[in-house]
């Protein structure tokens, strides 16, 4: 995964800094090539970027128009008449208890599901990396092997299981489900990361009289920072954005935001004034996380996309 880190930021390209230029990076040939072919390439890339932005911009601008305007013309009319932009849909949405409450539910599911995966995954990852017990590598393979299980396989059985123990349609149930399915990847990632910790460090701590738990919480966890960050961000976004599991296991009385919006989609067309701002509000947190933690996000997605 190290090759992947910083993939968004530093291709060798543009800002490839002095190091690249000297050795092989921006040699004369490639710089000349960049000059000559640059114009058409630039135009092409700008067009592609605009094309890629357009769908989201469409939703954003739709969310800023009155329901009546949305009904009679396309969002691009805003460019001809910017005065029609209004925050009404958003202030309306703030008063919409169902949608606002659903955001709280989403947070109440996402935060514990992320913390639990990190904690439980770290414990197991540490055990697989450094503790001594019979059949260790075999167990590790089994755990990693569970990566292949699609969540769909567990829907019916876990629904029955949760039904039997009273977890069906509860936030706790959704949290447990997400935690369990986050674990194979978490254990895999963290075990490999922890295994790189220099043995001397751990032995020195042990000599200082640190017990297993102390060693874990004071030495291993802090050292695992980068891996834990990638994992945490990946899991956070995964759970925040999930709809399928929430659809089945979440309390239908106070559903998370994806389910609440999904129920609105049924009347698509008549309620874009709710859907568009709602979708944007649901995207705010993921986008903040994305822009704030690009690097960890990229490496997390790279490693975790098999899920």
């Amino acid at each position: 995964m190290t090759t992947v880190r910083g993939a968004l930021r530093g291709g060798r390209g543009g800002r490839g800094v002095g190091a690249g230029r000297g050795s092989a990076g921006g040699s004369l040939v490639s710089r000349v090539a960049a000059r000559t072919g640059g114009g058409a390439l630039r135009v092409f890339l700008i067009l592609v970027a605009l094309f890629w932005l357009m769908p989201s911009v469409g939703l954003l601008l739709s969310s800023l128009r009155s329901p009546q305007r949305i009904g009679e013309s396309g969002w691009w009319r805003v460019f001809g008449e910017p005065a029609q932009i209004t925050w009404d849909n958003y202030s309306e949405l703030l008063g919409n208890e169902k949608v606002m409450g659903s955001l709280l539910t989403t947070a109440a599911i996402t935060v514990p599901a992320t913390v639990l995966v990190v904690v439980i995954g770290s414990l197991a990852g540490y055990a697989f990396a450094w503790l001594d017990f019979p059949g260790r590598d075999g167990w590790f393979l089994v755990v990693v092997g569970l990566l292949v299980v699609p969540v769909q396989v567990a829907l019916i059985p876990v629904a029955k299981l949760f039904g039997a123990v009273g977890l069906f349609e509860t936030t706790a149930g959704v949290v447990l489900f997400h935690t369990a399915f986050g674990l194979p990847f978490a254990v895999f990632l963290l075990r490999n990361f922890f295994a790189e910790i220099p043995r001397e460090l751990l032995e020195a701590a042990r000599l200082d009289g640190a017990g297993e738990l102390r060693l874990f919480s004071r030495v291993v966890m802090p050292l695992g920072g980068p891996a834990i960050a990638s994992l945490g961000i990946f899991q956070f976004l995964w759970v925040w954005n999930d709809m399928l599991i929430a659809l089945i296991f979440a309390d239908s009385g106070s559903p998370p935001v994806t389910v609440a919006l999904q129920q609105e989609v049924r009347q698509f067309g008549s309620n874009i004034d709710v859907l568009a701002p709602g979708a944007f509000v649901s995207m705010v947190v993921p986008l903040i996380v994305f822009f704030a933690f690009q690097r960890q996000f990229v490496s997390g997605v790279m490693a975790g996309a098999v899920k």
Binding site: T3, L275, V306
Partner: protein, 433 residues
Amino acid sequence: MRKRGRLGGTRPWIAAVFLLPALVLLGALVAYPVVFSVYRSLFDASGDGFVGLGNYGELFSDDGIRTALKNNVVWVVVAPSVSTALGLIFAVLTERVRWGTAFKLVVFMPMAISMLAAGIIFRLVYDQDPERGVANAVWVGVHDTFADPAPFPGAKPRPRADLGRSGGGAFMTRSAVRAADPVRLPLVAVRQEDVRDARRAAPAGPRPGAVTGTVWLDFTRGGGGRPDVIDGGEKALAGLTVEAVKDGRVVASAETAADGTFALPAGKAEGARLRLPAGNFAAPYNGVDWLGPMLVTPAIIGSYVWMWAGFAMVLIAAGLAGVPRELLEAARVDGAGEWQVFRRITVPLLAPVLVVVLVTLMINVLKIFDLVYIIAPGSSVRSANVLALQLFQSSFGTDVDEGLGSAIAVFLLLLVLPVMYVNLRRIRKERRR
């Protein structure tokens, strides 16, 4: 697997404490469900009757599921390859661009949002109404650039005017025209937006050597207009085609001017009857039914590519950074063109990364659910069906059959297995390096 150090001196029960939470959760919620699903898939809907592999047989005989299977094949073939191809193109093109990072950010951003949000975004993009859905707005715009749109869709003659239907949506005068006698062709039922900027209609004066006339909207806003008379404020219908027809043949044709008047050469049009061809009044082209049964799956795949091309791009860009510069430079110095360098060196060197991307996307696509569930409207949901959606419907939908649902789940697992095997082997190889 590399043999790593073990810290000596730990007792097994400590390891057990560290492992217990993970193993309990994995056992109860991941491993046990696999066993249960396999078991349950051998029984009928009620769960009492053993049906052996009957449910699996139904996967291939039930029409709805067959559609789902077929669509899954389309998905697995098209979505990963298109996403990967675009990702490769973008990665290579941005490599040497100064603001490549900004570009990558834009293309990668959809990865951060939920498939639900992406679904809502694309429901809007694909809206049938060209005045709302941008896909059809563009499509209709392009179409109308090449095929002139009808100037006045839906317009028709004022009742009791000297104009009758002549078949196919055209209108024809009942009497023949003469050069000295300007014709009045009054129309009504013109859409407001088609005459918003129209000028006032002017009565055509008699002109030597020409058959003249006026086509106008015979309707005065606020009332007070007289039928068949060009009243003060009545609007001209410009750009309308008028044909002179003699013995069923078009002998001359003209287009109305901004004031609604037209003139036809008298030599040809004298004694002919005038026809307003159907092309003037055809309903406007309404674009493509993106979410109709025919196109719904490709349309949804489009939204998937929008989300995941960025993923492919970033992975490939990371691989590209590992391609030895010297090799490319050497080839360029030897006179290889950019395309040759790309085809002969870059792509082969990137092959392992491309495989990883393809395989990862395939696993992902096999389980596609949210996008289809959100984007496909009720009327074409059957045509857009995929396995994961069918599984959801069979397990929790309206006509529940848990046996069948479990069979689909196990089938999905079997489909993912070989693909995942390739991926895991790759991971292990990478570790060993």
